[in-house]
């Protein structure tokens, strides 16, 4: 088992493609995306019932063994969150190497 940082990002569906593009550029080892999430935040309720996707969230989970990279990811997504809203949480975890 190896120590890693767990990043969890909630952002609106239309921004999903831009965020995964950014993660590809930052050469993160990988990421997992869960779609059609609903929720509430400063910008009001998103019931994931609209067709435009503007009121639908998606959740990114990233396991990042390299702490420095985790910091870089947070710095790069901060402006996205400031513009479009959403949240990002970072916590400690152990990564099962296989």
């Amino acid at each position: 088992m190896k120590h890693c940082k767990r990043l969890e990002i909630v952002i609106e569906q239309p921004m999903a493609r831009r965020l995964s593009g950014l993660l590809d550029e930052l050469e993160v080892p990988g990421y997992t995306i869960i779609h059609q999430a609903s929720g509430r935040g400063d910008r009001g309720t998103r019931q994931a019932d609209d067709i435009s996707g503007a009121l639908t969230n998606c959740l990114f989970v990233i396991a990042c063994p390299d702490e420095a990279l985790a910091g870089r990811i947070v710095e790069h997504i901060r402006p996205l969150l400031t513009r479009s809203g959403g949240i990002c949480m970072m916590s400690d975890a152990m990564w099962v190497r296989h």
Partner: protein, 345 residues
């Protein structure tokens, strides 16, 4: 509805009544009632997305087939140019009107939303025309698709000019023009309408004979199920406009008034343009509807990318919860009267 010969008010009244009592609109009311009474009636999200794709696939293909039959001539080109002109002019005077009461971002977003169109309002209008067997030409579908993109681009140009003028360009995020162009032109709905239009045009009536069992007779039934979902979603959004929720700090009365008044203004402009172009009754009504309708699928998706500073619980709620219901319930028969009156001059 007693049809005493030729008496205008009875005739007008019957137009409104037939529209309001058509199955699609009654199911829209049912959806609104379900949401207001907090029933847990809900159409799953992927189903609602598919029903909207079905409607665009069907109206696009039908438009293409009738375009193949009618062909391209000067009047068709005239209508298309006029449509694009409408979609470019509306955001400009819309932005100027809105800027007096709202921030630049929200003003530009609402201007782009109302300069664009609502495919489902257009589709509901075609089924209204079919029900009273008034013909309409296929190229109106092309006009609809062409009106989507210009409004977004012009709305954002106005926003950029304001930002540069206020020399605080740094604060406002630079608009990614490349991303915006791709998003507005290659938006899923626009792409499907134009693609189905092209395929309907290429395959013509031979293609229609193969596809019409899916997109012909079942069309109105599917429209009922889609408008049931629209009623639920629209009624839920109404709650968002109240000042307390999110950051809808703008004056509520102004927003609601704008969401009804602005479509009427655009309808008058579009109806006059249709009259000057000498369009037949059905085509004139559809062009008026395109002017009067506001986007709640393609434009909001583009705006979230290009202009995230604008608050969707304002522009999306106005177009979805106020303008859309107003247009399909009262707008369609009202604009029909206006078009008829102009034709009578």
């Amino acid at each position: 509805m007693a049809d005493r010969p030729g008496h205008l008010s009875d005739h007008v009244e019957s137009l409104f009544l037939t529209n309001l009592s058509s199955p699609p609109l009654l199911f829209f009311f049912l959806g609104v009632a379900a949401a207001l009474l907090r029933s847990d009636l809900e159409i799953p999200a992927q189903i609602a997305k598919f029903l909207s794709l079905y409607l665009l696939f069907a109206i696009g293909f039908k438009g293409g087939v009738s375009l193949a039959e009618s062909g391209f001539d000067a009047s068709v080109v005239g209508t298309l140019v006029c449509a694009v002109a409408l979609a470019s002019v509306i955001p400009v005077y819309g932005y100027l009107l809105l800027r007096r009461r709202l921030g630049a971002a929200d003003a530009a977003a609402i201007a782009a939303t109302y300069g664009s169109i609502s495919a489902v309002t257009f589709v509901t209008a075609t089924s209204y025309l079919d029900a009273s067997s008034i013909s309409w030409a296929g190229h109106l579908v092309a006009a609809m698709a062409l009106m989507e993109a210009p409004a977004i681009i012009i709305g954002l140009m106005l926003y950029q000019m304001r930002q540069r003028a206020a020399a605080d360009g740094a604060a406002a995020g630079a608009v990614e023009w490349r991303e915006l162009g791709r998003e507005s032109l290659l938006n899923g709905s626009v792409f499907l309408i134009l693609g189905s239009l092209a395929i309907g045009w290429i395959t013509g009536s031979r293609g229609m004979s193969q596809i019409s069992p899916l997109i012909g007779p079942p069309f109105v039934g599917v429209l009922c199920l889609f408008l049931l979902d629209m009623g639920i979603v629209a009624a839920r959004r109404l709650g968002d406009l109240r000042p307390g929720r999110g950051r809808a700090a703008a004056p509520l009365a102004f927003l609601v008034g704008f969401a009804v008044g602005f479509p009427l203004l655009n309808a008058a402009l579009a109806a006059t343009a249709a009259w000057m172009l000498g369009l037949p009754e059905g085509d004139a009504l559809l062009l008026t509807i395109l002017g009067a309708s506001a986007s709640y699928i393609a434009v909001p998706a583009a705006l979230r990318l290009a202009l995230p500073e604008a608050n969707p619980s304002i522009y999306l709620t106005m177009s979805l919860a106020i303008t859309f219901p107003f247009n399909i319930l009262l707008g369609i028969p009202l604009y029909h009267q206006v078009v008829r009156a102009l034709a009578g001059l």
